[in-house]
């Protein structure tokens, strides 16, 4: 009856939940917090000023050219949500400026739109 068991196993495989282990937020190459965002790694650098930078890299941490990418950030600062866009700023960097100073280790989400129309989001 091995084949029947195999059949059952194979059939049920798509139903089995994949373990939900995302990357632990790590420190990126630029000293910011690096998390997963879709097919990319996104590293957020906030240094207590209103300006923040987002560095894109692929799954193997190779930089991805930010040209053509768009992103919008929602950051929680002092109990208020700050929304602002990020735009390509050379290399693999997207940059944006908020209305208030963004502290290091800020909580928030960055939604990224790739040039091919695909989108991804990074949660910090």
């Amino acid at each position: 009856m091995i084949s029947r068991h195999f059949l059952m196993a194979v059939l049920s495989l798509p139903l089995v939940a994949l373990p939900a282990f995302a990357h632990e937020p790590g420190v990126g190459a630029n000293g910011g917090v690096r998390v997963d965002a879709g097919h990319y790694h996104a590293e957020l650098v906030a240094d207590g000023t209103p300006a923040i930078s987002l560095y894109l890299s692929d799954g193997a941490d190779k930089p991805v050219a930010a040209e053509g990418f768009k992103a919008s950030a929602i950051m929680i600062v002092d109990g208020k949500a700050q929304r602002f866009p990020l735009s390509p700023a050379g290399g693999n960097r997207l940059a944006g400026t908020a209305a208030v100073a963004i502290p290091r280790g800020v909580k928030g989400v960055v939604q990224i739109s790739a040039p091919d129309g695909a989108s991804a989001q990074a949660k910090y």
Binding site: I2, P14, P19, A20, V109
Partner: protein
Amino acid sequence: MACHLVRRGSLGPCGLLVGLGLAGLVLATGAWAHEGHDHGAPATPQVTTLAPRAEAASADFELVAVLRDGTLTLHLDRFADNAPVDGATIEMDTPEGSQAAKPVAPGTYVVPAPFAARPGAHDLAFTITAGDTVDVLAGTLTVPAAAASSDTQTPAPAALAQFGGLPVGALAGLLIGFLAGALVMSRRRAAALLVLGTLGVALAGAPQGARAADTPKPPVRDAAQRLPDGSVILPKPSQRILGVRTIVTASASHVGVVELPGRVVPDANASGLVQTAVGGRLAPPQGGFKPLGTKVAAGEILAFVHPPIGASDLKDLEQQGYELDQQIAIVKRRYERLSAIQNAVTRREVEETEIELKGLQTRRANLERVQREPEALRAPVAGVIATSDAMAGQMADPNTVVFRIIDPDRLWVEALGFSPDVGRSGASGRLPDGRSVTLTFLGAGMSDRSQALPLQFSVTAGAEQLRAGQFLTVLAEAGAPRTGIAIPRTAVVRGANGQTIVYEHVTAERFMAREVKTEPLDAGRVLVVAGLPPGRRVVTEGAELIEQIR
């Protein structure tokens, strides 16, 4: 090897199934982003009978967005205990812009989602303000092609029937079945499987669009269901109805506990018996006998006992009465005579006669009263009437217990233990119906009863609705501390196979049964010593209802 024996005709679907399975495997693995780890939102099993949905969670909140008829319904709960979050402000950000959600029910919000008409993955960010907590959650809504297109095709009755309308699928299935049969019969199984797999993948790739359009539309209501891996999908609306609540497990050190059989007894200082001292006929007091449960004050008369007088006693008394009457008559006459000639007799003689007459009259009066006066039965303590055997006219023997008075706020528990030291630091009692009471150690007996030591506890909390004579389990602290996870007793359920299981809240709508080993902790909680790591969410309310989902 059942497939071997079946003919070609039925091998068709069989081969198709294998092909589909392999295709499913390919598709499922394709969802992994890269080398072994998962990107983005926690992956949930794709259940085709559920409407498209997105899940997002943070340390404070858990959010499920369900797409139905172009509207996203957001179910917002607290992450730790699964209680709905009411009165929150939710703003949803999509790459197209942001929108505020409108509350429709406690913890339920709606927001229009025109973007969801387009199939594919939609990244959603939810900014939540609830009280002084602000959080931003990220989730991905994947809209399948079928749900996006507003086709009116009726759902196929069975999975295989979906492919009945597809000549390509049916032909390919037959072809694969035939090939499978032929190859397997030739006993080159490795080669057979390889060819089968390749064909399966090829088939899965070719008519994908056609099949997607044929996928049944999600039903109007999301149904709870048990998946083949034993986990349970329980949509948020169902969780709200079942009142599912969770706690986050934490490991801690707890003192050891022993379970003792116990019984509720009345407090010796706040209960009493009403007994007859002499036998007699019971008679109600003014206002009649008091019914059970009546509050009585100490000293209140509850009944009268009329001692009966036997026939011979009655004759004796009668005799005595006549004698006394006779004597009284004689002495009275003498006294009258002496009083008339006071100058001729001494004063002493007159006084003596007077005293004698009074004495005789008193004796006569007492004789009458003995026959008439009943004994009053009084409540010895204040409390309520717990038992009552009174009935008017009933003959009671001496020492009959007519009433039992108990103060319901002051009860003791008598337990049988094996060491006089248990329960000194704390104890609790669990009643058969699940209620629990707090107990305080009073004392331990010195003489064994039923080869065990009687221990007395007083009920310090939870005495309401407790009755004397009720049996309960006393959980007395004893022994060395143990380390484990304390969870409420309601969290633990018996599986169909008799195993002790708890349900872990794995993702927003998914519950996984976990086999655990428990030890008694106190009346309300058990200690999980194996099978459950700390930091997980365990269902504390509604676990039995989840267990019943098939």
